[in-house]
């Protein structure tokens, strides 16, 4: 099968869920012998040449835009097309503040959040950066150097994608999340090939009830236009049915995997202390429920003294959460590490006695699987896709702070609980493979092609 895949991020150009999923999926497809043409919205080659092996670094000039072709090591059958952005929203690491080796305030944000405001806006950047916008898949500098109209970017991406598609051979189009849906629809129109859209998160997950209408419209249009829709969990599928009136017969669930050959990072064992460590690792945003973690921490600390709560990550709620911890009088027991990368993530997992994911809405949630792969037992919110399939985990409603604290205390007090969760969980995660996810996607493609053929015949 030849797949024309539209993505918005790809490691190492990002560090979060969508890009990781695209990498896992394309790698597995490549190993299964399928060809993937992966379109990215920016010129990755230029900025990240050290991570990428350029096979055909030639630039086509076309009427509409330029794009680059390149390949990444270990992805035999995947070729990339990237569209250099005029607005350079991916000017990474230029504004990151480094303190003691840890990047403090920058974070890749999947949500679109206006700087310092609760409302979401899409105006072009203004002097002073007052109203800059974080673009999905970007690292936002605190001073707001870049900006731009996200929708313009999305439209431009769509136009160039159509150009690229003209010179490629493929049977199906696979678009990841709303930023690429316009492009998917356009390419499908131009080529006559069936479209599969893959929903990794919805506007309701990212923004709660404060939904951004233009994004919702794009998501809705994508879900209704596509021949098949892939949701990352039943939780997400239900949102698509209930909030987007998606046609149920076309929406299928394909769970994410975790990388099978993930080389375990060799990190020195942490200094053993008497202290127990409870870990929150993720963006500090509304979606991830950091305030529920803190509230539970306060309750736990009333019963267990020798415990420290580590919050690793950053996001638009970081400052508020730090202040909240101080107001609760538990500031000395809560540690904020800022955003962590690679070896630091492995190190913090090695120290942790329990990983807590109190997400308010989590379409899938790959982090608990990573925690288990690092031998850390997990307590996850029932409002997550992963809780549908992971049985050897503690589960709690995100709002049920008493129960969250009850379970955290139990893990701290009773080592056999930790051992049993860890041993069974570590075994269970072996069932989440990208190979299965890729095979399932191939199945969905087949049905999309069949449906499209029928429609054309009828």
């Amino acid at each position: 099968m030849n797949v024309f895949m539209l993505g918005w991020e790809f490691p190492p150009f990002i560090s979060g869920g969508l890009g990781t999923a695209c990498q896992g999926l394309t790698r597995a497809m490549s190993l299964l012998g399928h060809r993937v043409i992966f379109v990215l919205p920016h010129d990755v080659a230029e900025q990240h040449a050290t991570h990428v092996k350029l096979l055909t670094p030639k630039t086509h000039e076309s009427a509409r835009a330029a794009y680059a072709k390149f390949k990444i090591n270990s992805l035999e059958n995947v070729s990339f097309r990237s569209i250099p952005s005029t607005m350079r929203p991916y000017g990474l690491e230029t504004g990151g503040v480094k303190t003691g080796g840890i990047e403090k305030t920058t974070v890749r944000s999947q949500s679109i959040v206006a700087d310092g405001e609760t409302s979401v806006s899409f105006t072009k950047s203004e002097a002073g950066g007052e109203r800059t916008v974080a673009v999905p898949g970007t690292v936002r500098s605190p001073s707001g150097h870049y900006g731009g109209d996200m929708f313009e970017e999305v439209e431009r991406y769509a136009a160039v994608a159509v150009e690229i598609a003209r010179n490629e051979t493929f049977e199906v189009i696979h678009a990841h999340d709303w930023m690429t849906f316009q492009a998917g629809i356009a390419v499908s129109r131009a080529s006559g090939k069936p479209l599969v859209v893959h929903v990794h998160s919805t506007e309701f997950d990212r923004s709660g009830t404060r939904v951004n209408q233009p994004i919702y419209d794009i998501e809705r249009r994508g879900v209704h236009t596509a021949d098949r829709v892939i949701a990352v969990s039943h939780l997400t599928r239900n949102i698509l049915l209930a909030r987007y009136s998606a046609p149920p017969e076309r929406v299928e669930v394909v769970y994410n995997g975790i990388s099978e050959d993930e080389e375990t990072m060799q990190v020195p064992p942490p200094i053993r202390r008497d202290e127990k460590i409870v870990l929150f690792l993720g963006r500090i945003t509304m979606q991830k429920g950091p305030e529920y973690f803190l509230a539970a921490a306060k309750k736990v600390l009333e019963y267990e003294k020798n415990v420290r709560f580590v919050m690793a990550g950053s996001g638009d709620m970081t400052r508020g959460i730090i202040e909240m911890a101080a107001e609760m009088g538990i500031g000395h027991r809560v540690v904020f590490t800022g955003f962590l990368r690679g070896p630091d993530v492995a190190r913090v997992f090695k120290m942790a006695d329990l990983y807590v994911m109190p997400s308010v809405s989590e379409p899938f949630g790959i982090a608990p699987l990573e925690a288990l792969s690092h031998d850390v037992p997990v307590l996850i919110s029932k409002q997550s896709g992963v809780s549908e399939v992971l049985t050897h985990a503690l589960k709690v409603d995100f709002w049920d702070i008493d129960e969250m604290a009850n379970k955290i205390i139990a893990v701290l007090r009773h080592p056999p609980l930790q051992v049993t969760l860890r041993d069974h969980g570590n075994f269970e995660i072996k069932k989440f493979t990208w190979t299965d996810a890729a095979s399932n996607c191939i199945g969905v493609y087949g049905r999309a092609i069949r449906d499209a053929g029928r429609r054309r015949a009828g």
Partner: protein, 398 residues
């Protein structure tokens, strides 16, 4: 000429309420839920099944005989919530065709941890049976048919003549469970469950995928008749809740039960005996050597349903570690609470075997996961432990 020996297990655990680490009171049990289940099972199973057995005893004029083992925790709940169930058992006792077996009052795993507690609980149970039904128990069965050579020795020392066990293949080998055996170390009669015929009723009766479905009384009687000439007793041991609760009434299980004795008695060599009568009538034909623990649970027939993971082992060790302190505290309410949490069901809920597959373990489990049940249990146990420490006496003020 096989005798047919029925033994029905009657048990309802005292389920715990949701007890979080923030709870401080000593009300551990979910009274409302327990009462509800008691009433439900009484209506679906105990009352109609007892009526059926009573009718059969009258119909066959004493030739139909059965035995029961009713746990103390179940009897306590029947007395509180459904006294008519106790009355109906008493009526059965009065027919003289029913034997009541001895077990640990709290359906516990105490034999594995404390011989003293094991002995005490058997004492409580036999007294209760004697008070209620006027019978002195002579046959013993341990929780979930747990058995090994040491257990046989222990119950022989307590004066029992016979003990029940699972007829496990790995010990029997080519031999048949349809005979009486003796352990290598002590003179007591061991009655072994014929698990094929027992499970045909208890587990497979309503299974439409089973090639013998539908199971009728005459077909089953035909299988029992095949034992003729190669066995003296067919021991059909099962949960009483098979009738009406595990196998619902609309599967025809009560019709099957009602017609079975007549079909079995049609063969002139068949009769019904209780375990006491079987033990009196037949002599052991060989040795049944069980150095390791066996039980009637799951396919493993071992203890892994209660002791299969670190949580279960920990919870059980923690309970019995409290024994000394609980006894020393000399507080009847505390002693009873400590005993009620010994019931094996609490550990069964913590079983992680097959958890991911969602099977029979899940059906009987009031918790969402084995982890939840362990957490809840340990919170209760922490509170019990706190009660064993006497409250500090106020200092006398001069």
């Amino acid at each position: 000429m096989p005798s047919i020996c029925f033994y029905f297990q009657v048990h309802q655990p005292l389920r715990l309420r949701r007890y979080s680490v923030f709870d401080q009171d000593a009300n551990y049990f979910d009274d409302i839920h327990n009462a509800e289940i008691c009433r439900k099972v009484a209506n679906k199973c105990y009352l109609p099944a007892n009526q059926c057995i009573y009718d059969l005893i009258k119909l066959h004029e004493g030739r139909f005989r059965v035995s029961y083992s009713i746990t103390g925790v179940a009897l306590d709940q029947f007395e509180s919530y459904t006294p008519e169930v106790v009355d109906s058992f008493r009526r059965l006792a009065d027919t003289g065709c029913v034997e009541f077996l001895a077990e640990t009052y709290y359906h516990s795993l105490s034999f594995l941890y404390s011989l003293e507690e094991f002995t005490d609980q058997i004492g409580l149970h036999t007294k209760r049976i004697s008070d209620l039904f006027g019978q002195a128990c002579t046959t013993f069965r341990d929780t979930e048919l747990i058995y090994n050579n040491q257990l046989a020795e222990a119950v022989k020392a307590l004066g029992f003549d016979a003990v029940l066990a699972e007829g496990t293949d790995h010990i029997l080998g080519y031999r048949s469970p349809n005979f009486i055996y003796r352990p290598p170390n002590v003179d007591i009669k061991v009655l072994l469950k014929n698990y094929r015929l027992s499970d045909d009723i208890a587990f497979r009766f309503s299974n439409r995928g089973w090639k013998e479905w539908p199971l009728t009384a005459d077909k089953f009687a035909g299988w029992v008749n095949q034992v003729n000439g190669n066995g003296c007793t067919v021991n059909l041991f099962m949960d009483y809740e098979t009738f009406g609760e595990h196998q619902w009434s609309d599967t025809g299980i009560f019709d099957f039960l009602y017609h079975l004795p007549a079909e079995l008695l049609r063969h002139p060599h068949n009769d019904f005996k209780t375990p006491r009568e079987v033990a009196a009538a037949y002599e052991p034909v060989g040795e049944y050597d069980a150095p390791h623990m066996t039980s009637w649970a799951d396919t493993e027939r071992d203890l892994s349903a209660w002791l299969g993971n670190a949580m279960q082992a920990n919870a059980l060790h923690e309970i019995y570690a409290l024994e000394g302190a609980v006894r020393k505290a000399d507080d009847p309410a505390l002693l009873r609470d400590w005993r009620c949490v010994q019931t094996s069901d609490h550990f069964y809920y913590m079983c992680t075997k097959y958890f991911a597959d969602g099977d029979v373990h899940k059906y009987f489990n009031p918790y969402e996961s084995p982890y939840d049940s362990y957490i809840n249990f340990m919170n209760v146990l922490d509170n019990i432990r706190m009660r064993t420490v006497p409250a500090p006496q106020p200092q006398a003020v001069e």
